[in-house]
Amino acid sequence: MLFRKNRTIEQAVAVCLAAAWCISVCLSLAVWLIPVDVIKVRAFDQAPEESFAQFEAVGKAEAIWWMLRVSSAGATLFLAYTWRRRIAAAGFMSGLIEDVFNLLRRKTSSGKSLKSLAGIVAWVRGTSIVAMLGLACIHQIHGMSKRASDWPYYRLNNGDEILPNISDSNRAVIRYLRTATPEQSRILVVSDQKLFFLSYYLLPRHLLHHMHPDAEHLIPRKNQERQLAAYRLSDLPATLFREQGPDYVLEYFEGPEYVESERATEDADWLRFIRNWQRDPTYVPTYTVVLRRWTEPAQ
């Protein structure tokens, strides 16, 4: 009887493995034979008529295709190996099913009165495990999908090159300072912005900023919805300049309280840079950026 049961399980496992292997082989062939470019073109055609959406759709399709290629190849190899050892696999599967049922079902208990309670506990425990693993599956799929959506933006680029997850204005200022200042320079900034990302991506240049105490614990909001308090250049004491010995001074304001429209074109180098960046020779930035080489005033 036992022998017949084992034989049945073995046959069932062998059939399942063979079917899974066939599917994975077909899938592998399909994803490896169809060029990525075909998929990218298809994604482009299906995306909404908007350049950003098309860029995202093409990148995501490329990422998903490569994920499918890697996973289907891995699955094919694994299933082929398992099918070769199908007798052991059948034993393993039947044992696993038994182990899982042992784990989930009610356990023996010494007292009769405890039996129902133990049953409830086992039921709650089993349901919880199943729910947690089910939720985990959904999250893993969602996670992979999220990574695929991220792919067009990040790819395998260094953060220093793509300057991820910062505003366009921050990105432009970083790129400008990289071109306009030598690597070891010290730049004293007066700004109504949080400058942590500028400081990070501009290293080994050292960014120095005398933060206004009212802005210390405030988190900035997108599109300058929250105006942070800041010092202007004229507010800073001369001792600060002497102590810090900056090579450059940068005035960088984006909030309406600090931006002076007449100063938008004050720094000619910046204006040239940003117009070139925007590919618009008449572009006038909406925020103030003025970079100057700092020389200590004569006593």
């Binding site: 985990a136 996670g143 990040y154 400081s199 990070y200 080994p204």
Partner: protein, 516 residues
């Protein structure tokens, strides 16, 4: 190619350094059986912790960080680790380490196939964590503004006494934040010869592997292999830890604190039901070291250290009180007098606190020199009047916390519901000392979060609203440990989880027994 060599050398050196520490200091094979998974999980966590601490101490004593030091540390790690593995292979008890993994045959949940399936799934999850982590550079606020910026400065200036880090005008967020993450990141940068923040993220999936392996190992040793590994798998699949992008996939400190704090609590819990006084002391010391790593990773770690001490002391006092009131011994309890047990417990608390405190002393000494810009100054702000004045914040923060824990389960996971269900379904077991410690620890952590919300100079809804999920992530391993302990099936030798085995258990020869 050189980058790959540097990465393998750096990460491998750290893990093997930890392996040597496990072999020669924490769990010598001749003395205690440690499952394979626990041994390697602990190696990862200790190795990373040691890399951070040794780099700090070296630089604190005016040594120069950089390629020479990092290469020396990695090289030493490789040599010591390989020697430890060779030594381990000569020990017959540990040579078949997987076989030694205690499949408690008398346990109704013992199932080697289930164990194997869980191990495979965990391996796949760890691989996915590495792959997903590598798909993005560092891109979040904290990981760049606090930690990565310091790592780059340390790499460039080769010293924790860098003029930039000591300068209050230099742009960095939280200048007084601990240096564990910046130091391990600069360790890789020094070996690679340049700073590329994507590679520095490799430490975090490694910590994920360390946490899950240690957790599975300790649980399988204590609660039976099948249940232990199932709980390890459940921990590995908690969405907020992985694959949420603020968990182990990024280089923020929250997941790292979850790992260090989780393992500290794991070993405190383990030590509470350990039969041998020597092992109990060793586990307290191990927990002390790992707790100091948590405190050296993020300021929450210091709060967790205090909460560990308080909850341990309170659990001990309550358990002693309950024993005294009931005036009868539990079936699994040893013949030690209540007083002797209390004395031994107090001694271990002191040992744990002293080790963690001693480890942290140099850091706190150095921290006093660092600028205070953007710091929250929770301790300085704490006073009875301040707390009283801000009591009204609880009207917002308590419902918010409850919503994060229970209402938003689809996003962060079911662990809080399941923890609650475990307490409700096994209330008697929940008030035994080891589990009571876990419950008090969790309550202490939640209370600390509410107090932080009351004291923080930032806007409450913005401050707590943007960080509660990350704080809760840090105590996920403790919740899952509570679930594991409460829902483990009682077996022949352990009448109840966490209670000490009686003298007959201890007489079983270790070579044949499967219990510690």
């Amino acid at each position: 190619m050189m980058i790959l060599l540097a990465i393998v050398g750096g990460l491998g050196g750290s893990v093997l350094l930890g392996r040597a520490a496990v072999q020669f200091v924490i769990a010598p094979p001749s003395e205690e059986k440690t499952p394979f998974s626990e041994r390697w999980g602990l190696s990862i966590v200790l190795g990373i912790g040691l890399t951070g601490w040794l780099s700090f101490l070296w630089s604190w004593s005016n040594g120069r960080l950089g390629f020479a030091f990092s290469a020396g540390l990695a090289g030493f790690g490789w040599l010591a680790g390989l020697w430890a593995i060779w030594q381990s292979s000569r020990q017959p008890v540990q040579s078949s380490s997987l076989a030694v993994d205690p499949h408690r045959s008398n346990s109704p949940t013992a199932g080697p196939r289930l164990v194997k399936a869980c191990q495979w799934l965990i391996a796949i999850l760890v691989l996915l964590a590495f792959a997903q982590s590598m798909l993005t550079p560092q891109r979040f606020w904290d990981e760049r503004a606090i930690f990565a910026i310091k790592a780059k400065v340390l790499f460039e200036d080769s010293s924790i006494n860098s003029s930039a880090l000591l300068n209050p005008e230099f742009v960095q967020y939280h200048p007084q934040y601990p240096l564990m993450l910046p130091l391990i990141e600069q360790h890789l940068y020094s070996l690679m010869g340049h700073a590329e923040d994507r590679w520095a993220k490799l430490w975090f999936p490694l910590l994920y592997a360390g946490l899950v392996l240690s957790f599975s190992g300790v649980c399988s040793r204590r609660l039976g292999a099948a249940w232990g590994w199932t709980c390890g798998l459940l921990l590995a699949t908690v969405p907020i830890l992985m694959p949420d992008e603020y968990g182990f996939l990024c280089a923020q400190a929250d997941a790292a604190v979850a790992c260090f704090h989780g393992i500290a609590v794991l070993y405190l819990w383990d030590g509470m039901s350990c039969p041998s006084p020597k092992f109990r002391l060793r586990k307290a010391l191990l927990a002390g070291f790992v707790a100091s790593c948590a405190a050296f990773t993020k300021d929450e770690g210091t709060a967790f250290l205090i909460i560990d001490v308080l909850s341990w002391t309170a659990a001990m006092a309550l358990a002693t009180l309950m024993r005294a009131v009931s005036r009868r011994k539990s079936p699994g309890e040893s013949s030690e007098s209540h007083f002797a047990m209390l004395r031994s417990g107090v001694f271990r608390v002191l040992l744990f606190t002293s080790l963690a405190g001693t480890m942290l002393l140099p850091w706190f000494a150095h921290r006093r020199r660092l600028p205070e810009v953007t710091e929250m100054h929770y301790v300085g702000r704490m006073s009875l009047s301040a707390l009283y004045d801000r009591l009204s914040t609880l009207r917002w923060s308590l419902p918010h916390l409850a919503s994060r824990m229970f209402g938003e389960w689809k996003e962060w996971g079911l662990q809080w519901w399941i923890g609650l269900a475990a307490i409700v379904t096994r209330p008697k077991r929940a008030i035994e000392q080891p589990q009571l410690f876990l419950i008090l620890n969790l309550f202490g952590a939640l209370a600390a979060l509410l107090v932080a919300g009351m004291l923080a100079p930032a806007e409450l809804e913005e401050h707590l609203g943007g960080s509660t999920h990350r704080f809760l992530m840090q105590i996920v391993p403790v919740v899952m440990l509570l679930v594991a302990a409460l829902w483990a099936e009682p077996t022949g030798d352990f009448e109840s989880v966490g209670k000490r085995p009686d003298s007959t258990t201890r007489r079983i020869p270790r070579e044949h027994g499967t219990r510690v």
